[in-house]
């Protein structure tokens, strides 16, 4: 089992490869709509937020989506499956520019850019949400998991509704 020590001893290329794999798995999980698996990318005491750029820049605390624990993530999944009423859609996320910033104790700070595309019935695929991930990653149960994932999106404006996570 990989431990925090083994990750901290990794060379730059090896760590990059591990992160590439993490983000690719994360995007594939959401792109494939395996939402039930999504909370497993996070530790129990986590923070997941989707935030418009204007709030982020002005230090305004409001998030478009705020999850303060893994339970909040499960609740989002529950609502996607059971309570939200919405038109069918496909959302595909592409993650790029993954760059580790550095370790702080047992936490790895990492940033990446993302673009999400949305396809609705009768419409051509459109750019839906573009922004950056500001993440804090830890080793849990032998694998890399998110302790914190903040998605700051550029446009401020959401094309109608943001239902599936980014």
């Amino acid at each position: 089992m990989d431990t925090i020590a083994s990750y901290r001893q990794m060379g730059k290329n090896e760590l990059r490869l591990a992160l590439e794999e993490l983000y690719a798995d994360y995007a594939a999980c959401l792109n494939d709509e395996r939402f039930e698996d999504w909370p497993d990318f996070f530790i129990e005491k986590c923070l997941y937020k989707i935030v418009p750029r204007e709030n982020f820049q002005r230090d305004l605390p409001l998030a478009t989506m705020l999850c303060e624990s893994r339970g909040y993530l499960l609740d989002r999944v529950q609502s996607i499956r059971k309570t939200h009423v919405f038109a069918p859609r496909v959302v595909r996320r592409l993650v790029s520019g993954i760059r580790p910033i550095g370790w702080q104790g047992d936490e790895l700070e990492c940033r990446a850019d993302y673009a999400a595309f949305e396809t609705l019935t009768d419409e051509f695929t459109r750019v839906f949400n573009v922004g950056r991930y500001l993440d804090r990653i830890v080793v849990d149960d032998g694998r890399l998991k998110f302790k914190e994932k903040v998605c700051v999106f550029d446009s401020n404006l959401v094309p109608n509704s943001l239902i599936y996570p980014l």
Partner: protein
Amino acid sequence: MDTLEPKQNGAARAWPQEGITRIPYFVYSDPAIYAKEQERIFRGPYWSYVALEAEIPKPGDYKRTFIGDRSVLVMRGTDGAINVVENRCAHRGVQICQQHLGNAPEIMCPYHQWTYDLKGDLIGVPFRRGVKGNGGMPADFDLAQHGLRKLAVTRRNGVVFASFGQPEPFEDYLGPKLIPLFDRIFDGRELKVLGYSRQLTPANWKLMFENIKDSYHASLLHVFLLSFGLNRVDNPTRMVIDKTGRHASAMSWRGEQKHTEATADMKSLLVDLKLNDPTMLQPVKEYAEYTICVMTLWPNLIIQQQSNTLAMRQLVTRGPGQFELAWTFFGYATDDEEMVKRRLRQANLMGPSGYVSIDDSEMMALAQAGIAPAPEEAAVIELGGRGWEEEIQHGVSENLIRGLYDYYRQVMEL
């Protein structure tokens, strides 16, 4: 552009003879109707919401926003007064400001650097006297005649409204039924902005007003809302309309998560629904009366108090088939840390990702998709009767929508 002339469109542009129990679909898609709404409603003698004073506390602070599809600037002057002007240079029509919020000692158009003070008066024009005896403005060019277009402004307990026309005083504008409900939230306490959320909904702006005034859908569409008993047709409810029909407010008390006689028709009720992390929704009592109060103020504002989430939802029209909903979430300056957290957590109910409001924006988009290709058809609004009353004590009615269209028809002469 399309036209309203009967010779062009004939019966398709007449309001159905059934009156306010019908809403003809052309009012949601016709560009000529939209243009008339801009002129009569958004540039008419009505108070449009533009800002909270807490957004622009200091002299020179400004906010860029919209009334209908016109961009305006809301500015705090050096004297503390709030001035609202059109965001359009008097010279060549350039939109001067592109920042949502900022601070500046004066306003300068980037194109030819015409400069205005915080009241919108023109204070400087480059090369006014010419250069080396060449050019310049005519000798009688009067700066005072070329300021930014100024709007009438009114404020009440920290909320700022503006108008292209000259409406009656705000208290009379809202009327005696709505003023106490407005003052219930805005009681003079200092407000604190928690953040913004903006969504672009592919639907006509009126559908948003109707959605809020429509208590019929709440117990049927919103699985989350009704399963947790936050808002349901069998909860105690009060609905009021001002005497004109244009403003309204819906109030209710939270009920329990269980089946009652009224839930038989609520096919989507999930009594077993539980939150994995209940901290998201642990409201505390904040006001003496009602756990929910949602007001619709003509022509562009929804004031939402759902449990402990407070938000202004400003309607910005973007053509007949699209509107922006600009949410400003706020609390009070005196809120303690726990209350701020509570408001931020409960904000998950609202906005583009709201447990409740996702359903609404999705339905509005589907409504527009159905309506737009069928301008000759009409909606049927008969739940709870065929007229409207200023006050009812239940939500099993489309009363508020009929009130709105009674007024709309007068303003639009339709």
